[in-house]
Amino acid sequence: MSNSLTRSLYHLMRGASRPTSLSRLKQRGHKRVSILRYRDIEMLIDTSVENTLSKMGIELSDRDIKGLGAEARVEFLALLHERDSLRETVDDLVTQQEELEANRAVLKERLTETKSELDEEQAAEDEELVEFGEDLTSLEGRISASLRALLSDSATPRDALTARAIELVRAAFDEQREEVANRTRAEQAERVGLLQRRLSKLNKKLEESEAMLARARAAANTSDEDIEEFDMGPAGLKSQDPQFEKKKQVLEEIFKLNVELKSMVDSEGDKKPT
């Protein structure tokens, strides 16, 4: 047995054993400890191979027996190693799955947050504009009223001028209203766009993590999630199928053969019920 094999055996045995201290052993009243040397294990394996062979009445040359012994030792190590990695694999898979699940939960939460932010933003857009519009309208009304009062109070009321002035005020306000609305809309659109980009990124992340989770579950052999619903459209042979008649005939034949098979299975089941 090579050094590296001995070393890896040592490692594996250590990994499979439970550590304790000399003082604790003493406390428990142990005075002597048994030490298992690798050489002893090796000997046990060799002896079991030899005993088995002689029990089965198989006579082999010394060289073959040695070879079998070597094989058995390698197998023993491999088994020990596999047990070790098995435990690790199972642990890994479980942690991986847990992490992925946590990650997915976080993503889902973010997604909901972002969605409601977006909803708020979109609702706010109209509200703000309406509010702004209302403010401007009342301001416009007040200025128009003041203007009208001012101009009609003067000694020489000039209706045409009054009308013109109010018209100007209204035009100025309309312009202002338009500009504010545009600005607000642009800002809003930018915020909405940003939120939408974030949403789609989150969605993509979520998809990725779902896929990873599905893989982890499949690997851990614990998958029981439904897969995304997928619609192939209604089943059934289409009458516009270019080979409709032929296929119908073939399908009927398959069916008939299976009716025969089923009757055989059923009568078998009658004979020896389980």
């Binding site: 995304e228 619609d231 089943a235 296929k247 073939v250 034949e253 398959i254 078998e268």
Partner: protein
């Protein structure tokens, strides 16, 4: 897959389902190719999965503690084989021990493993708990009645209605070929040849050869031992090398790095690979010739020129051409088409049969 992309389902805005569609998704159609080395399924919910046809049960208390009582399947079972009782329940293309007069095998163990595998394969399609499952299972062309009934027995525990179809027929049906064609399915244990002429193939339309992927592996191992006795390799290394480099043209150089005296060494196995892969050509063409010769003379030409090559073995590079050349030499010509997706060709075809099958047929068999 493509259909899935065209119909992104939006779970937040449920639309009122048309009642026909509702009925539709209450049934899951599954096509299964129950193969010696690999079992593949395709389902109407878009699932397409395959698993190596291995089932392993935890061997002892320690492994049971680690793995639980559930068996492991496929790759996972192969990897942990030292801790498992490993079954390859379909070794000769049919459930082992279910062939008449074959009492040597662990019949019950294999039947249980086969049932577990069929059930696992169905689970891979992720049916909803409320869905009715209608499955078509492709089995080898020459599977005996006993073989077929034992597959039905395995399946009926987990599906609501099941039908068996001949696997090569399923492949052809999947390609819409129902007339005058010859389907060759090169699997692991068997090569199934099936003559199609519009109706369900009869026994005389089918020939099964026990010459397929496994035989190539065996010959490759034998040639390696013979020509490179110093090289160390295992069965799995042979199969892996074949699946990576298989060629029947001789035009591709095949170099593997395998141990010699424990030291990884590059070895040129072009000649051996080519010889092993090419070894299946003469028996296949001979069987093909028999099926052509016993056919209506008027349609022999059509048949010869409509050969469909499928199964994992069809992935051998240049195999179609090699068969064509050999046909030209011995049968006076022929044309070979290789299926695009050998792993799923059988399952896809079986799914198509399942979906085309009238609902009342399914109901009568349930």
């Amino acid at each position: 897959m493509n259909d899935a992309a065209a119909n992104p389902s939006d779970s937040t805005t449920p639309t009122a389902p048309v009642s026909a569609q509702e009925e539709e998704t209450s049934i899951l159609h599954i096509g299964m190719d129950l193969g010696t080395s690999r079992t593949a399924i395709a389902a109407s919910n878009g699932a397409r999965e395959s698993v190596f046809s291995y089932v392993g049960y935890p061997k002892d208390v320690v492994s049971r503690k680690l793995l639980g009582d559930e068996p492991l399947y496929g790759e996972a079972a192969i990897k942990k084989r030292l801790s498992l009782n490993l079954f390859r329940p379909l070794e000769k293309g049919v459930i082992k021990g279910s062939t008449e007069g074959d009492a040597s095998e662990d019949t019950e163990g294999n039947a249980a493993a086969a049932a577990a595998l069929v059930q696992y394969a169905i689970r891979m399609a992720k049916p909803r708990p409320d869905q009715l499952i209608y499955a078509v299972i492709g089995c080898p062309a020459e599977a005996s009645i006993t073989n077929r009934t034992s597959i039905i027995n395995a399946a009926k525990q987990v599906v609501d209605s099941v039908m068996i179809a001949s696997e090569p027929f399923a492949v052809a049906y999947g390609l819409d070929v129902l007339t005058d064609a010859l389907v060759i399915d090169i699997g692991a244990g068997t090569t199934d040849l099936c003559r199609m002429h519009g109706t369900m193939p009869e026994p005389e339309d089918q020939i099964t050869l026990a010459i397929a992927g496994d035989k190539i592996d065996q010959l490759l191992a034998k040639l390696m031992k013979q020509n490179h006795p110093e090289v160390q390799f295992s069965e799995r290394m042979i199969t892996q090398a074949k699946e990576e480099h298989a060629t029947a043209t001789g035009a591709h150089e095949v170099i593997v790095t395998w141990p010699v005296n424990g030291k990884p060494t590059p070895i040129d196995i072009t000649k051996e690979m080519n010889e092993a892969c090419h070894s299946i050509v003469p028996p296949i063409v001979e069987a093909l010739g028999k099926l052509v010769a016993s056919f209506d003379p008027e349609f022999q030409d059509v048949l010869r020129n409509n050969v469909i090559l499928g199964g994992g073995g069809s992935r051998i590079r240049g195999l179609g051409n090699a068969i064509e050349s050999y046909m030209a030499e011995h049968l006076g010509g022929g044309k070979v088409n290789t299926v695009e997706e050998p792993v799923y060709a059988g399952a896809n075809g079986a799914l198509k049969i399942a979906r085309d099958m009238p609902a009342e047929y399914w109901e009568q068999l349930s």
